[in-house]
Amino acid sequence: MTAKRIIACLDVKDGKVVKGVRFLDLKLKGDPAELASRYEDEGADEIVFLDISATIEGRKTLLEKVKETASVLSIPLTVGGGVRSVNDVSNLLSNGAEKVSLNTVAVDNPSVVAMASKEFGAQAVVVAIDAKRTGSGWRVFVRSGTMDTGLDAIEWAKKVEQLGAGEILLTSIDRDGTRDGYDLELTRAVVKHTRIPVIASGGAGKPEHFVSVFNAAGADAALAAGIFHDQVVRIRELKNYLKEAGIEVRP
């Protein structure tokens, strides 16, 4: 059966990889193409490239950097951040992205998800859900985690599947950058209520966290950024660890 995927995430601002804690306090980590290529060599199954620049200049840099990153990779590349229209999706796909991740726009204008899915196929459309725990459930936040949409994360996950998303990139804002482990309850709930692959994100700190998110929460893929950039966890060693734990991974 399909191997569990380990995904390395690059948060890119003005052409450079950065990483923060709970979406804030960004620190510089390096060049996207160089890091992506290193992660491929170490055994990453996929690269996610999230553009967090907001400027027009940043957008131009983005396409150039996506192209540069895609041309050194022979594993899949997902690109997201600041996508506003079907045309943006098309531009990213023709510059080397396999999949495009939609976040704020999916909430503002759900028809973009449906149109992109119809035009490029569900497999090209990832919807990113940034969720924060509120009382008994989780709420969806947009605009880099700054705006509460009032939407329930589980209901929203079901909705994006209906709209035609091929995959969900589920980030726990509470756990992002903390290295305290993935939000297992959140991941389990979304996995249970959807029939498309779910990528868990936010909180990876050590190999045990990956085991739990696969075994206890049923995630199809696990994403991490900071621990790979800082070499707290090396992907090769992580995969060996997972294999030892009886989880199918690509060697």
Binding site: R5, D45, P76, G96, Q123, G166, R195, P197, D220
Partner: protein, 195 residues
């Protein structure tokens, strides 16, 4: 080696073109089929989206094939080598392999996204060194065929992953996105073209 990647308006042409270049091809993207060492039918998108293109160029593709041009179909590009597809309405394919392309029945989740193992079922030049390796798949449809595939993979159901005839090869996986497995496949492809 000259590879011509056909642009029928669907999918990511950048990745397959980069993959071919990494393998030593001079790769060009074209809206029209014409002479080359290899014509590549690229992947991703709905079968029906290619219908119009096929209608227009089917005969040209046949002629090129008869004149000795070899073909590689990737994902959707492999699927359109079959007789018919049911994605987005019934659409005729090239009919180079017998069978129908339909949604994967019995799959745990769709789309099937991720890495699965290749298993050899019969032998051809393209399969060398690939048995037991992981390849990257992204699809919801598969070929239902009586034609014996060279390799299969399994996603709740066994499905054709690599098919080959003397002058046409199709992969359901994406060699350009399959890391080392892809590199081995492209080496095999170059050898096949030279043979």
């Amino acid at each position: 080696m000259r590879a011509l990647v056909l642009n029928y308006g669907v999918g990511n042409l950048f990745s397959i073109t980069s993959g071919l270049r990494r393998a030593g091809f001079s790769a060009e993207i074209s809206n029209e089929p014409r002479d080359a060492d290899l014509i590549v039918l690229p992947g991703v998108g709905a079968f029906s989206a290619v219908g119009e293109f096929m209608l227009k160029w089917k005969d040209t593709l046949e002629d090129l094939r008869n004149s000795g041009v070899k073909f590689l179909g990737v994902c959707l590009g492999m699927q359109i080598m079959f007789e018919e597809g049911n994605e987005g309405g019934k659409t005729r394919g090239l009919g180079w392999f017998p069978g129908v392309v339909d949604q994967i029945r019995g799959a745990p989740k769709l789309p099937h996204i991720g890495w699965d193992i290749l298993r050899q079922r019969s032998s051809c030049m393209l399969t060398e060194g690939l048995e037991g390796r992981y390849a990257y798949f992204v699809h919801s449809y598969m070929a239902y065929t009586r034609f014996p595939p060279a390799m299969t993979s399994n996603y709740g159901v066994e499905f054709p992953a690599l098919i080959c005839s003397n002058d046409a090869v199709g992969t359901q996986f994406h060699p350009e996105k399959s890391g080392e497995t892809g590199k081995v496949f492209f080496q095999n492809l170059v050898r096949w073209l030279r043979s």
